[in-house]
Assembly symmetry: D3
Homo-oligomer: 143 residues x 6
Amino acid sequence: MVLLQANLDDMNPEFSSYVMDRLFEAGANDVYWIPIIMKRGRPGMMLNVLAAADKLERMEAIVFAETTTLGLRYLKADVHRLGRQFAKVETEWGPITVKLGFHNGELVQMAPEFKECEAAAKRHGVPLKRVYEQVRRNYAEDK
Amino acid sequence: MVLLQANLDDMNPEFSSYVMDRLFEAGANDVYWIPIIMKRGRPGMMLNVLAAADKLERMEAIVFAETTTLGLRYLKADVHRLGRQFAKVETEWGPITVKLGFHNGELVQMAPEFKECEAAAKRHGVPLKRVYEQVRRNYAEDK
Amino acid sequence: MVLLQANLDDMNPEFSSYVMDRLFEAGANDVYWIPIIMKRGRPGMMLNVLAAADKLERMEAIVFAETTTLGLRYLKADVHRLGRQFAKVETEWGPITVKLGFHNGELVQMAPEFKECEAAAKRHGVPLKRVYEQVRRNYAEDK
Amino acid sequence: MVLLQANLDDMNPEFSSYVMDRLFEAGANDVYWIPIIMKRGRPGMMLNVLAAADKLERMEAIVFAETTTLGLRYLKADVHRLGRQFAKVETEWGPITVKLGFHNGELVQMAPEFKECEAAAKRHGVPLKRVYEQVRRNYAEDK
Amino acid sequence: MVLLQANLDDMNPEFSSYVMDRLFEAGANDVYWIPIIMKRGRPGMMLNVLAAADKLERMEAIVFAETTTLGLRYLKADVHRLGRQFAKVETEWGPITVKLGFHNGELVQMAPEFKECEAAAKRHGVPLKRVYEQVRRNYAEDK
Amino acid sequence: MVLLQANLDDMNPEFSSYVMDRLFEAGANDVYWIPIIMKRGRPGMMLNVLAAADKLERMEAIVFAETTTLGLRYLKADVHRLGRQFAKVETEWGPITVKLGFHNGELVQMAPEFKECEAAAKRHGVPLKRVYEQVRRNYAEDK
């Protein structure tokens, strides 16, 4: 894995979500921005792209095409991703998926799928946090 | 006093120091930026200008001319500034000004003038923090 | 106008875009987040909602329902929004809307509609910045 | 209520938690820091203190004594705090307090007391998030 | 040395100090958080843990147990720590420790122990900055 | 190339631009600051210096002399800088330089020189964004 970084101090911040979308579509594992302070105290943004080494050329082409940077850095990174499974949890607004993460065979993470919770909250006019909580609770009780 | 605020999500961040300079030249009491997160998760900057009410029109004209904003907000603010005096402190690199702040007649702040410390450090090739420390120490001893 | 603020140090940050969406749908003029540092050095977020006074009760209900806050603040704010017009600009990827802002009858802002630029860039497989630039250039030449 | 603000660009950041502690002890309703960018691009911190008007003089004295500021701003603020109650929830690690918030007589917030969850997690060597979750779940089931 | 990183966009920020405490107790050399902007503009936090390679498994177990992350990254890092010594400085509030840092045999850093300064300031009811300054001054004069 | 990092939680933020200046003068390729949250929730700054390996000793000496850090980290980084050219663009305020960036022989970046735009805006009393826009437009038309 490689962590690609570019410091931007002259890019319209409106562009940031579009750059992210394009990088994810082209196979980036993760994309995120770090606020930084650059030369002459300028408030800039550092683009970070985590990608497999064989996708770097593609990532690089997108970064040069869609941002204003004149250069990039690469740092080598090893990645440890938890084993993942998905399960369905019943709620009063229908079934919702949860993502499970296992470390050495033990369950350590359980996260309701945000987009499904959001859709259920909108459809039924209930607070998102109520949906979210019920998913977590019902998962724990079923177990 | 009035605190003028404008949220910017489509301005080249390079422009930020120039906008500041122009507002200070036109009589702003203070100008600063707050990093914010705007619609669709865009990383924006909020411009803040503290100015006397009779200077607002001038400030407003500069903000509309030099930034990309389509609107402004005004908040009323009262200001309490300490009584200030200046003093000279002897150092091995020559005299340096310190700014003193008094609250109810009592000295509560003492700050070496940054630009003079910087100039002395550059001229004599010594660390800035050494200059700064000596100014503070010599001021305390003279007292 | 009123500026409503709530400091959050125990809310899942995933919820932030959903809260924004709901407040905009209910008539907020602007919604944005300010990163802050709270008690015991906790990294929190301050929700800011700018709304007309007669919409406050509605905003308040959404904030209490969708976030974890136990309290709100209100600051009075005056707002100055530029007179706005819209125009169409021809580009090689079809017409794109621009938003114009006028101050004392003079044009001071010109901003291509981000969503239309984004759609054109995706549809034609060209860099977003190229679309954006051409809109600005063609607008200036037509004038 | 008054919101007192001071911009600091020359204070040792180590001091920030101490200033907070002293202001809370002297009766501040809330204290928080906003990262800002000041003159010449300096990364500063804006101190915010929310306090009743009759405590302002005390707050002011602390801010001038403990920070490096030469001036303060005051903004008027109205505050809406939810009606609060406390309840005890049984868990496998003993009882834990939850804070409840009511809006127009309806329960809208429920937050486990962080310090008690933390103490239970440390004492029993279990992940904090497991304690936190069980408090929320057991509260919901008891209801 | 290894720098372990995890991006978190769905963790209650209240947990952040607890995670830090546990990692320091388990032998981390340093732990810090970087504010970031993640997918869909979510305000997240990146956990950073600097630790010796033989402590990684322990660090990893804590991060998976106490945060919500589904994955980690590792970057290799070399570390250069200054040679350190401690000295006692007399003040009007009793002796206070200072930490000294040496680079190629030369003294380059001198920092009063924050916790001792804080304790002295609280015990004697004097501003923390006054204690801090006197420690620095008396150290310089003793030398 | 090496990326040198130092976390600072007890440095006067006023010093930050001076440290940057000295590092650039001594041959750093890039210098920037990342806001971070450190032990006990302290708001700190992480200094980042990108430099060739043979300049590290010089960089290190400056960082220890001018900041308050007791240690440094080094990460290895590869750098990809675009091929660069400069061109002159005619404007109504005289010629202005633009920096061009080429990726695989194709022009991907075009940036007006900020300092020249700023100087022209000041000299002629016109908004900086008007100068900037005209440079971009005239460059595109000339091509």
